[in-house]
């Protein structure tokens, strides 16, 4: 298992994909935070950890961790490197397990970077405007931990989707359309159902949207998100297990 993880780690570090996605995290978080601070909701004199600019960080890591997860399998399918991968590690569940460890680790880094960018933006903006800003260290740490877990969850969902679908463009476009459009659409039409879906479950788990009556309690949201992760990973691993590589 250690050899498979080491191999996956080298794969991650020897193309520019992961750096491109990390740059995406920084840019998306920055743009989102900027937009939030310019918006009408900004309260002068607030606690850093309660600011909505962390929503920008969460959106950024959700998208980028999902794409990273999808690409971790579909890049190999697309370029044919899945053949030497499976020749070296014929136990396919072990390949999936090693990929899970590595994408979740990278997603955690994405999350920390996003949180730092978001917090940094807030601090600079408030300082520049001479507004008082307090920091609750414990609450901030808890929030960052939640963002890390959310990012890890989305990277694993992405790996499950990528392994199940196989085709890279279909998997990326499909999962992003679902994430950014379909689930909101379901939310508008069937709010009673939508709160159980992955993105809403993730939002519930974070608890930044506490006022939203359509979300579940944070603990329940976290449990539900874990269930979604399990379902997607099992589906992807099972599809790979039975797929002919030809």
């Amino acid at each position: 298992m250690r050899t498979a993880i080491k191999s996956e780690f080298r794969k991650l570090m020897t193309t520019r994909t992961v750096w491109g996605l990390l740059a995406g995290v920084v840019v998306l978080t920055g743009l989102g935070a900027w937009g939030t601070l310019l918006g009408p909701n900004t309260v002068p004199g607030a606690a850093l950890e309660t600011l909505p600019l962390f929503i920008a960080a969460i959106v950024a890591v959700t998208v980028m961790a999902l794409v990273l997860g999808v690409r971790t399998y579909t890049d190999e399918a697309r370029h044919g490197s899945i053949v030497p991968t499976l020749l070296a590690t014929p136990e396919r569940r072990r390949v999936i397990a090693a990929k899970l460890v590595v994408v979740a680790g990278a997603a955690a880094v994405f999350a920390v970077v996003a949180a730092v960018v978001g917090a940094g933006f807030g601090a600079i903006w408030f300082a520049a405007h001479g507004t008082a800003l307090t920091v609750g260290v414990g609450a901030l740490a808890l929030l960052v931990a939640k963002i890390v877990l959310i990012a890890m969850a989305w990277s694993m969902i992405g790996l499950g989707v990528g392994s199940a679908v196989g085709h890279q463009v279909a998997a990326i476009v499909g999962s992003l359309i679902y994430l950014l459009v379909v689930e909101d659409l379901i939310g508008a039409l069937l709010p009673g159902v939508a709160k159980f879906l992955p993105s809403n479950a993730a939002d519930s788990a974070v608890g930044l949207w506490a006022s939203d009556a359509n979300l579940l309690a944070p603990a329940l949201g976290a449990l539900l998100l874990a269930a979604w992760v399990t379902a997607f990973v099992v589906a992807g691993a099972s599809r790979l297990q039975h797929r002919d590589i030809s």
Partner: protein, 316 residues
């Protein structure tokens, strides 16, 4: 360019040594894709110390068979073992079997060296071993460039380097000569013969007979997913001589030969092939029919003739 062929440090204690026993065994391998039967009840053995050619026209089921040996494709029925075990049961497959199935099986933005480092990590091998196989296939100078920019021949050699990483006892190569220039093909032939000469097994597929005639000791011939023949190249071409007769009056010669009760077989160059016929008798037949001959000679059966004979009359 393609430098010295030398032995890598073999992890001798991991070898599944069993002299004389076949390195690869296929038993009743069958693969159906929907209504299409790609491989049909195929059984064969590959011996160590020999280069075995896996021969058949395009679409005969060669690649599917090789992928079943390597557990990439699941057989509909039947089984295969490599060094006595199913591929998935090999404790360290990279140290037992090396395989190249496709011209491209690497990320184009990863360097050749990093591609091999990824594979080395999965097999628990060192980066030093990566340097050795790069030397072995003559790719050291290009190792730190992105593999997507490699020529076809360099891609083949990168694939081969990956297969050799674990210093395996069995090599399985699918159409390795594709994209190689004549020097590259010659290098490959010499390499495979050297590799087999150390007591290792080589199974190499091709649809090109001329290539196999020079490269292989044994051949397995398949068509439509079925075994046609298995034997040594010598066996398949042995007993093999025939009479070739040709005339500017192709039709007239054919009629005269049939009228004389013979069974002439038209070849691809406008002549006829006759099994076990007496040249003098053919000469007389032609004389009586008033047909001028442009050739009348005994020819040894080549592997190509043997192959065409074997696959003839099997309708697509």
């Amino acid at each position: 360019m393609m430098s010295t062929i030398e032995a890598g440090p073999g992890p001798a204690d991991l070898r599944h040594e069993a002299p004389g026993s076949p390195a690869i065994v296929a038993r009743g391998l069958t693969k159906r894709f929907g209504a299409v039967t790609a491989v049909d009840d195929l059984s064969f053995e590959v011996r160590p110390g020999r280069v075995t050619g896996f021969l058949g026209p395009n679409g005969a089921g060669k690649s599917t068979t090789l992928r079943m040996l390597l557990a990439l494709v699941k057989p509909t029925s039947g089984s295969a073992t490599v060094l006595g075990l199913p591929y998935t049961s090999l404790a360290q497959p990279t140290l037992a079997v090396g395989a190249v199935l496709e011209v491209q099986s690497f990320h184009p933005l990863r360097s050749g060296r990093n591609h091999l480092r990824v594979l080395a990590a999965a097999a628990g091998l060192t980066d030093a071993r990566v340097g050795e196989v790069l030397d072995q296939v003559g790719l050291t100078d290009a190792a730190d460039r992105k593999a997507g920019g490699y020529s076809l021949g360099m891609r083949q050699r990168l694939g081969l380097a990956g297969a050799l990483l674990g210093d395996p006892q069995v090599l399985i190569l699918d159409e390795p000569a594709n994209g190689l220039d004549p020097q590259g093909i010659r290098w490959l032939r010499e390499f495979l013969q050297w590799f087999a000469g150390r007591g290792n097994a080589v199974l190499v597929s091709s649809h090109l007979l001329s290539e196999m005639a020079l490269m292989a000791d044994d051949v397995i011939v398949i068509d439509h997913g079925r075994l046609i023949r298995q034997g040594t190249v010598t066996e398949l071409t042995a007993g093999g001589s025939h009479l070739r007769v040709a005339s500017p009056d192709h039709e007239g010669l054919g009629r005269a030969l049939i009228a004389a009760g013979l069974e002439p077989r038209a070849d691809h160059e406008g002549g006829y092939l006759l099994e076990s016929a007496d040249p003098e008798r053919i000469g007389r037949i032609a004389l009586q029919a008033g047909v001028a001959l442009s050739q009348l000679s005994n020819e040894e059966t080549s592997l190509e003739d043997a192959f065409l004979e074997m696959t003839e009359g099997i309708g697509r």
